[in-house]
């Protein structure tokens, strides 16, 4: 590819990727509704666009492949072939390859081989029609030609005496400057007018000097022209060759060149026009920014927030009105900045969701199952860092549902279900949390199998298992070290079970719970924080150390008098709003003290679990910047990260879910208060 075309590469990649995505979507539509003539037409149009753009950028094979797809689509359109899984497979393979080719283009790799796909298409077309239309090479030859003939300006000057079709007597004399009016018209259906015009202009520039251009250059480069433009070119050589070359550019409909007699005076003001800076003055509505730059920005904002807090602390001590006002102003600005930075990092969950229809389709073909995927809540936004990891985890959940949940069509019919299984993947937002549900209508989780596996793995004793409710048993699936798949299939298995997904979700600061109804399906509910970066937390003191407790699971804070504390079955409890709530002495749990001390309790709730975390002192709420702990410390279940306080000291962030899980007796059954329907999945505040 020539260096000049490379400036259009980004544009090409972005646009073509979009087109390919749309193409894949439309193909899925065709597959679900083979008679959808509109979808077929749309595919045809998209393949055509891809072809045209690739050809302009000299990606011959990409263009060739798109062209072959066009041919095959034409078979469908003209009803010479009918939509069937085999033909759709070919289309999807082509789409995959195209995607790969565009990626390669971005990375400036050479184009991969496509002969296998072309062969497949030709064979398919041979089957469908007797007089199979060969894949025409169309413009390929031409392009090669024009590439070979890449103008070499110096040589050209010598060779330029050859006669062309629009000779002018005067022009025969070599070396005499003349002004030629080139009029170039592009075909109306041309998709990349700016790029083609650019190629034409470059040819003109190599041959001479462009004195005047109508419309102005930036209009042409921004595709704000009618498809026709005029260039007055001061040229020494013969221009017939040039005309031919321009005619060979794709989508050039007509080229005319007329010599101008009057020259000198006009040239002056024409110069003024030409000297307009070449830089594109395109209106920029969005920019791409590298993720680590955003991370740096967020780090700085985090530092700013810390400094702001420190300043506010000093302000309180000094008590100067002016200082307080300035601090307030700074506070507002910092909050705004923080909000905006966090917003910049938000990405719609659709970037993850959009891959799934295709994946589900391929998997269901592979497994011989029929599955309909329903996606909801594309527009919900999450922090980029959450999104990246979430994608893989959702892939596992979907695979799990397809592999272990949804039955084969025959099985489904036998149990009186529709042959087509259904998986619903839905996202929604609740205040500062995002809820994601993966629901299938498959056979549900085999609780007996879970039981025996849990026993086998030594996760629970037989007595423990017998005393568990079905719900509790189901959630054993999320216990680390558990994986139900007996055999490792190509689809799921490989040791990555629900337990792994659960800890993945937890490492994102989220929670996951599983609900299963035998014969009716599984529902997995995930709650995720919108962002991992900055959260509101309650600062507390335990002995001489400060900890931060995220306010999200906090229900209330209470002072405790010694006689409020009761002992129940060896467990310290407190009666809170009529419920017996177990007390979690942070100092004891963290083994910083052996005694039960503390006068303040923070009542927290995660799902059905409740607890009162006992601390020595409440220091107040504050926004904190969450910093991940080093990997050596990430395994400690009690902490979800750390933050830097205004004093510069490090405070550990308490992971409430982890603390509840690992504190003996953190579990409280509130049977009397729980209605069967009112199940809260994945934890979080249950006092809605």
């Amino acid at each position: 590819m020539s260096t000049d075309l490379s400036k259009y590469l980004d544009m090409y990649v972005t646009q073509t990727k979009e087109d390919i995505d749309k193409l894949a979507d439309k193909l899925l539509e065709i597959e679900s509704n083979p008679n959808d003539a509109d979808a077929i037409n749309e595919c045809f149009r998209l393949a055509h666009t891809v072809k045209g753009n690739a050809a302009t950028m000299m990606f011959e094979k990409t263009a060739q492949l798109a062209h072959a797809m066009e041919n095959l689509l034409d078979e469908l359109r003209s009803e010479r072939a009918e939509v069937n899984p085999a033909i759709m497979d070919i289309f999807f393979k082509c789409v995959d390859r195209l995607e790969m080719m565009v990626e390669d283009a971005r990375e400036k790799k050479s184009e991969p081989d496509i002969s296998d796909l072309l062969k497949m298409i030709t064979e398919e077309m041979g089957e469908t029609t007797e007089q199979s239309t060969p894949v025409p090479e169309e413009k390929e030859e031409e392009k090669k030609e024009s590439e070979d003939k890449k103008p070499k300006t110096k040589d050209r000057k010598k060779a330029a005496t050859e006669s062309g079709k629009k000779e002018d007597k005067k022009s025969e004399s070599k070396g005499e400057k003349k002004t030629v009016d080139f009029k170039i018209k592009l075909t109306p259906e041309c998709d990349m007018r700016a790029a083609r015009a650019f190629i034409a202009l470059r040819l003109l520039e190599e041959a001479g000097r462009i004195k005047e251009l109508t419309p102005r250059r930036e209009m042409i480069e921004n595709d704000k022209f009618g498809g026709t433009f005029n260039a007055l070119v001061e040229i020494e050589q013969d221009y017939a060759d040039l005309v031919k070359k321009i005619e060979q550019i794709k989508d050039v409909e007509q080229v005319s060149a007329d010599i101008l007699k009057e020259t000198a005076e006009k040239a002056c003001d024409a110069d003024a026009q030409v000297s307009i800076p070449r830089e594109r003055m395109r209106e920029i509505r969005s920019v791409r920014v590298k993720m680590d730059r955003l991370d740096d920005l967020l780090d700085s904002v985090g530092e700013l927030v810390i400094s702001k807090i420190r300043l506010a602390e000093i302000g309180k001590e000094i008590e100067s009105k002016q200082l307080t006002e300035s601090i307030l102003a700074l506070d507002r600005l910092a909050s705004e900045l923080q909000y905006n930075v966090l917003r910049i990092r938000m990405v719609p969950i659709d970037v993850v969701f959009s891959k799934f229809p295709r994946m589900v389709r391929d998997l269901s073909r592979q497994m011989g199952k029929e599955v309909e995927l329903v996606l909801e809540g594309h527009e919900i936004e999450l922090d980029r860092s959450v999104i990246d990891k979430l994608g893989d985890l959702l892939v596992h959940l979907l695979r799990n549902s397809m592999d272990h949940g949804i039955e084969s069509p025959e099985e489904r019919k036998k149990s009186g279900k529709t042959p087509i299984g259904k998986i619903r993947l839905a996202a929604s937002q609740e205040q500062n949390r995002v809820m994601i549900t993966v629901e299938d209508d498959g056979k549900g989780i085999d609780i007996l199998k879970v039981k025996s596996k849990a026993l086998e793995r030594g996760l629970h004793s037989e007595e423990e298992l017998d005393s568990m409710s079905d719900d509790e048993l189901t959630n054993i699936l999320g216990t680390p070290g558990f994986s139900t798949a007996d055999k490792v299939t190509a689809v799921s298995g490989r040791g990555v079970g629900l337990d792994a997904v659960k800890s993945g979700i937890e490492s994102l600061g989220g929670q996951m719970s599983i609900e299963s109804t035998t014969g009716r399906g599984v529902r997995i509910a995930i709650r995720l924080p919108l962002t991992l970066a900055i959260i509101l937390a309650m600062l507390v003191r335990v002995k001489d150390q400060i900890y931060a407790i995220p306010v999200d699971p906090i229900q209330e804070t209470i002072s405790i008098a010694p006689n409020d504390v009761k002992t129940l079955g060896g467990m310290k409890v407190i009666k809170f709003r009529g419920e017996i709530t177990p007390m979690i002495y942070l100092s004891r749990l963290l083994k910083t003290s052996e005694t039960h001390t503390g006068s303040q309790a923070i009542v927290v709730g995660i799902g059905q679990k409740k607890g009162a975390i006992v601390v020595d002192e409440l220091l107040g709420q504050q926004e904190i910047v969450v910093k991940p702990l080093d990997k050596h410390l990430r395994r400690i279940p009690f902490f979800g990260g750390a933050t830097i306080l205004g004093s510069g000291e490090v405070a550990l962030i308490v992971d409430v879910a982890g603390v509840m899980e690992h504190s003996r007796g953190g579990y409280v059954k509130v049977e009397n208060h729980r209605e069967p329907q009112d199940r809260v999945f994945g934890g979080g505040i249950s006092n809605e």
Partner: protein, 173 residues
């Protein structure tokens, strides 16, 4: 805080020499990022025993490794000479607590012997990069990349890596 720049000649090794429980150890200077005086170390309850705590180094969170424990000595007493050697290893930036930093020493490569095949006393030989012999002194050169790394990987890492590979194998095949 002292910034350190490495300008060793080719046949020489520059070592940061420090003491742990009155014994001399060293680390190659290119493994050392900076040396700081400990302040405001936050203890991390339930952490592995070789973790002394975490500190804030210019807005970054750094885990401090208790090198004494790591090498089989008693935990250190903080004194005026206690220093933290900040090291940039593959896994990220870690700090290690030492009793004193003595000097930066240039030692010809030929004076460095490979680690003994068996463990040298109480120290695991895989932590040892070599033994420098100089002026009647024996200095154990530690390989910080090994000393500071925990043998078993975190579970989360495994899952994430596992997840990615299984995807690659399955999608689009």
């Amino acid at each position: 805080m002292e910034e350190i720049t490495a300008t060793a000649r080719e046949d020489e090794v520059q070592l940061v020499v420090f003491t742990i429980s009155n014994e001399e150890f060293a680390a190659e200077i290119n493994q050392v990022k900076e040396i700081i005086t400990p302040a405001n170390i936050t203890e991390v309850p339930s952490a592995p025993s070789f973790v002394y705590g975490v500190i804030n180094l210019r807005g970054k969170l750094i885990t401090i490794v208790d090198l004494h424990k790591r090498l089989g000595y008693e935990s250190p007493q903080l004194t005026g000479s206690t220093k933290i050697i900040v090291s940039d290893v593959k896994e990220g930036v870690l700090g290690m607590m030492v009793d004193n930093v003595l000097e930066v020493k240039r030692i010809p490569e030929k004076q460095i012997e490979p680690p003994p095949p068996m463990s040298a006393g109480r120290i695991d030989s895989e932590y040892i990069q070599g033994i420098a012999k100089t002026d009647d002194r024996l200095i154990v050169i530690l390989d910080l990349t090994k000393v500071l790394i925990d043998e078993d990987e975190g579970r989360i890492n495994q899952i994430q890596e596992g997840g990615v590979t299984s995807d690659d194998e399955n999608i689009g095949s």
